[in-house]
Amino acid sequence: MRLDQDTVKTLSETYQLGHRDEIKYAYRSERGLTEKLVADLSARKNEPLWMREYRLKAFAVYNKMPMPNFGGDLSPIKWSEIFYYLKPTEKAGKTWEDVPDAIRKTFEKIGVPQAEREMLGGAKVQYDSEVIYGSLRKNLAAKGVVFLGMDEGLAQYPELVKQYFGTIVPVGDNKLAALNSAVWSGGSFIYVPKGVEVGLPLQAYFRINAENAGQFERTLIIADEGSKVHYVEGCSAPAYSSGSLHAAVVEIIVKKGARVQYTTVQNWYRNVYNLVTKRAWVEEEGEMRWIDGNLGSRLTMKYPCCVLAGRRARGETLSIAMAGSGQHQDAGAKMIHLAAETTSQIISKSISKNGGRATYRGMVKINKGAKGARSKVVCDALILDSRSRSDTYPTNIILENDVTLEHEATVSKVGEEQLFYLMSRGLPEHEAEAMIVNGFLEPVMKQIPLEYAVEMNRLVELEMEGSVG
């Protein structure tokens, strides 16, 4: 995959200029977080009383809880200076050129009418996501699939939201989750009815508006029995966040026999603290798969979790983390086996270079009674130079004896023999290195849908070339 010149230009300029959308803000809260602000926020959104009370309760919990005592260095975050709520007057317009290839290809798949396509392709200067979004919604509505922003979801399906919101990641789970519970805004709400298979990945990008690129997104996905859905968060386009804190919460309920995949291909700008709580509850024979690509950001702390609550439930987390200069990726996975014959797999591939630090932090817990449970963890780290660092902190808690747990980790550098081999076939050194790095990431890459895999590969190549700082 060769990068085309335009993409390279756009991406490098974006970073060098510190590009940001010109956004007018209708309302910008004062800095810092107060109870009044939380209440105002809820009122402004016209939320039901129970949600306002939920937020206020969360705020109280947030104040009482200590910061996490593991992971990266959170001390530089100036909590009192963050804008906790921003709402734009206009939707952030994007030109057709800004739309990543992956999205453009998808338009064809969802059957955007010819006329609209032409309109978007030529005459229309501003790309309005609402047009695309409208087409997609019609498609899904026919199957009974609900795909809305979280705010709209709460407004249109309050009972459904109330039933599940906060049940997988409760308010007191950790301080950042409490914060999110108090000031959440934006995110996705998805409900897939029994037996329905959504053939196309649902993407947050389709709902582009400033809130989507916001800091405290809350996503809730409910996959009813036997259903199948794939959700893709973010896209490879560089995500600049004026607020430097991204504390999202994702809750997923996988009901009996349902299959859910959640793919994140995100490339946060260098100033962002990306602290996310992601957890799925998997019922009997259900399958959950987290595909997590962590590039960019100053500090990422993310440990997608599967609670395997029903017999034969299966959980997988495949993650790629790349830490460059001044970056710390503290990522991993958690698998909790509550029921018998549950299986889990964690594959973590990390790369650190230019003084970056990549940390794998994981937990596998197999409870008493989870007979026949099996878990396999593979974490491989590639350290590209002598200035960079890699850590592995796994915890495996086994409370049942009729189980199998296997864990392996390897740390290495790019092999000299491999480099020599490829160079002797005519490849310049940096290309040979990039090829080897790609090969290293391949086991996870091949699980990412093709369009996104191509984007991910481009990003990795860019990072390797060092054109991004």
Partner: protein, 175 residues
């Protein structure tokens, strides 16, 4: 010249071992056995710290637990900045012999340079049923087959002890 540290835990409690590599060319192997057959907590903590390069380390831990024993093994390989040319491998394998035993396995790594060969492996589980079938199909009773397998499992560590005196003290494990 390779040094060996042999650790045997046969009583509940905590045992901590630190191996510091502060001279180039150092070679050290840690062999640990945990025979946990009493109710209680057995905690083995091992830290191997490569402060300088061109050092060679190996850690091999084998443990069996039964009768309500709770075994926790924490093994960390640390390779400091500038410690190039380190070769280290940590392995911990725990067998849970009955439904009253539990284990926590924490194999950790902190690597600050890239000219290294470092890896670790951990397994926790019960006796492999295929191994039991194989041996019983040769006429050996189920209990005897399990005994052979557990002894063999632990003896993999014992067989590596180079000092004759220590080896004979540990003896061929007979559980």
């Amino acid at each position: 010249m390779k040094k060996q540290a042999v650790v045997i835990m046969a009583e509940p409690g905590k045992k901590e071992l630190v191996v510091n590599f502060d001279k180039k060319g150092g070679e050290e192997e840690v062999l640990a056995l945990i025979l946990a057959d009493q109710p209680g907590d057995y905690y083995l903590k091992i830290l191997v710290d490569h402060k300088v390069g061109n050092t060679f380390g190996r850690v091999m831990v084998r443990g069996v637990a039964k009768n309500g024993a709770r075994v926790r093994v924490e093994g960390m390989i640390k390779i400091d900045k500038g410690a190039n040319g380190v070769d280290d491998f940590l392995e911990m394998r725990l067998l849970l012999l009955d439904d009253k035993s539990q284990a926590v396995a924490e194999p950790k790594l902190e690597i600050e340079t890239n000219e290294v060969k470092a890896s670790h492996a951990a397994t926790v589980g019960k006796i492999d049923e295929e191994q039991v079938f194989y041996l019983t199909s040769r006429g050996i009773t189920g209990k005897e087959a399990e005994r052979l397998i557990v002894d063999g499992f632990l003896n993999q560590v014992v067989d590596k002890i180079e000092d004759r005196k220590v080896a004979s003290k540990v003896g061929r494990i007979r559980l």
